[in-house]
């Protein structure tokens, strides 16, 4: 399937899901669905660096929080234009501010993408466990910076009160429906990017880096440049997943934006679903995030993280190829036994 066709088909599927959710006439479906959707974006983004390139990122929360906090900063600027802008610029700023969520997503993506590029440069020669430790350290450093940045609320956190409804072209839309729609589009974009990479020369290059970086370099693969491309794309998508989050949660503090659950989930979901194709993170995220939502309302949200961790360990030991990988193996074997090879 060609990429534009895939994009449209995926978008139609997403809209069908949205329509089905509307039909239930239950807002909880949207609140839970939003979480599942933003985890699909996070898992897909993680997989571009972790699954395709083989660089395990433990600091997903940092990129996610960069997106969320760029939104908080811009929201605060936008709601207090007269206070933060000089008089000469204030009327102009008042015209474009507060910025709509899609623009905030783009900005959050750029900020997190730059952080990703910086991470790539700083960790040039780090591989394996050392790269993972460096990304974990990055999350701690950024969290400390945000805690001490009073403008975005510091350790107290910040309130971002979203309106109840949004009028688009004379059409009243409930805000949670609007956020869910935006997330669906974001999921479709993330999946399209991942699928496009997988099938392009970039995908071959990433796979060669994952398998053997020295041999890749000897084959003419510019490993450093490709690594930077991967950290940037992966970081940008994570930031885009985080940018609308303040409008969803309405109150955000560093402890929840940099929460361990983002790091754990964005590793667990692709590993459980399968890291070699774009379908893996999608499957993993839908299964894990849905079960976690069920656990949150049935037991408590802490059980969700424990569950993802336990399942991750089980899969790494028992089924390292993930659900999609093992299904593909099974289908290949069946095909071969049929053709008699």
């Amino acid at each position: 399937m060609r990429t534009p066709v895939f994009f449209i088909v995926a978008l139609l599927c997403g809209l069908a899901v949205f329509g089905a959710a509307l039909w239930t006439a239950n807002d909880y479906v949207f609140y839970a669905g939003y979480v599942v959707l933003h985890f699909i974006v996070l898992a897909t983004a993680w997989n571009i660096l972790g699954g395709y390139c083989g660089y395990v990122n433990f600091g997903s929360a940092a990129f996610f929080a960069m997106g969320a906090y760029s939104t908080i900063a811009l929201h605060k600027l936008g709601t207090n234009v007269g206070r933060y802008f000089p008089e000469a610029i204030a009327p102009v700023a008042g015209l474009i501010m507060p910025l709509p969520v899609p623009v905030l997503i783009l900005i959050g993506g750029c900020v997190a993408g730059l952080v990703g590029l910086g991470t790539g440069y700083l960790t040039l020669r780090l591989r394996g466990a050392f790269f993972a430790i460096a990304t974990l350290a990055l999350a701690v450093v950024l969290q400390t910076l945000v805690i001490n940045w009073d403008f975005v609320g510091g350790a107290r956190g910040a309130y971002v009160i979203a309106p109840q409804t949004l009028a688009i072209g004379g059409f009243e839309l409930r805000y949670i429906h609007y956020l869910a729609l935006i997330m669906i589009v974001l999921v479709v974009i993330a999946l399209t990017v991942a699928r496009l990479i997988e099938r392009s020369r970039l995908g071959y290059g990433f796979a060669s880096i994952r398998d053997d970086e020295l041999a890749a370099e000897a084959c003419g693969v510019p490993t450093l440049r490709l690594k930077l491309i991967a950290t940037t794309i992966s970081g940008a998508l994570m930031g885009m997943a985080g940018a609308p989050f303040p409008y969803y949660i309405n109150y955000l503090d560093p402890a929840s934006a940099f929460n361990l659950s983002y790091g754990v989930n964005s590793i667990a979901m692709p590993m459980i679903g399968g890291t070699t194709s774009w379908i893996g993170p999608l499957v993993g995220a839908i299964i894990i995030a849905t079960l976690q939502q069920w656990m949150t309302v049935t037991f408590s949200s802490e059980w969700g993280v424990l569950f993802a961790g336990a399942l991750l360990i089980a899969f790494v030991i028992l089924a390292p190829k993930g659900i999609v990988g093992h299904v593909q193996d099974f289908l290949r074997q069946r095909r071969q036994s049929r053709t008699g090879r």
Binding site: Y204, E217, G220
Partner: protein
């Protein structure tokens, strides 16, 4: 055909206090078949790594095809026409045999077509041309029926052949084969030597690093001997093996 393709001038490399290479001068002509031998730890692999850009040499210069290679990364040198195989095969394990060959075609042959590296007059390969070249190369090394297999399904000699085919897929001028025959049986060694000679007849300059003397003797037009990071002999095979210094280095004085 006597223009030097590779020139190594006064090359030196240390690891901490250990002198791995010192004052190495080496010239390899276009189309030549050179054997590089020396006892374990004599600096053969270090020399290969310095020439290919995997390691950075401290002194001296590597000239390839008239260009100064100092400061170029390994992949930039591959783009300019150097290719190597590794001592221990390092295939891309998650890719099929055919896809292993696609990597250098996409990233070296097609990168040459894009960038200003005009060492080869090549154009961009289409996916169909890449497929055709894969099939041709796999046929040449005798892995035609393994195209869809994964490296883990290959035998030791097939793995070595894949290693050579992948180096060849970059369409190089110079092929450096680092111990392509270690651990193979006598008939398999002869198989690889025949393959290397076939590649040489296609106009590729080859440097063979090898411990198996029979293979080096039958393959090489010239032999270079390294001992303790220095070059002690450089000449025709029969002259080199009778050189008292070489005999001393191998058998002990």
């Amino acid at each position: 055909m006597t223009r030097p393709l590779l020139e190594v001038a006064n090359l030196g490399k240390r690891f901490g206090g250990f002198v791995a290479l010192e004052g190495i001068n080496l010239s390899v002509n276009e189309g030549e078949r050179v054997g590089l031998i020396g006892p374990n730890g004599s600096g053969k692999s270090t020399l290969v790594n310095c020439v290919c850009g995997t390691l950075v040499n401290e002194t001296g210069t590597v000239y390839f095809d008239g260009q100064d290679m100092n400061g170029l990364t390994a992949h930039e040198r591959t783009h300019r026409g150097m290719a190597r195989s590794f001592q221990l095969p390092r295939p891309f394990g998650s890719l099929t045999v055919a896809d292993n060959l696609r990597i250098p075609m996409i990233y070296t042959v097609n990168a040459r077509a894009h960038t200003a590296v005009k060492t080869h007059e090549r154009t961009h390969l289409s996916p169909a041309e890449i497929d055709a070249r894969c099939a041709e190369l796999l046929g040449l090394v005798g892995l035609a029926d393994k195209a869809d297999k994964f490296p883990r399904d290959l035998t030791q000699i097939e793995m070595r052949k894949l290693e050579l085919a992948r180096a060849m897929a970059a369409d190089p001028k110079l092929l450096i084969a680092d111990e392509s025959m270690a651990g193979l049986s006598q008939s398999e060694v002869a198989d690889i030597v025949a393959l290397l000679i076939k590649l040489n007849e296609r106009g590729i300059t080859i440097i063979l690093i090898e411990h198996i003397m029979s293979a080096v003797m039958s393959f090489s037009q010239r032999i270079v001997v390294l001992v303790s990071g220095r070059k002690i002999a450089d000449g025709r095979p029969d002259a080199v093996v009778n050189d008292p210094q070489v005999i001393g280095a191998y058998l002990g004085q």
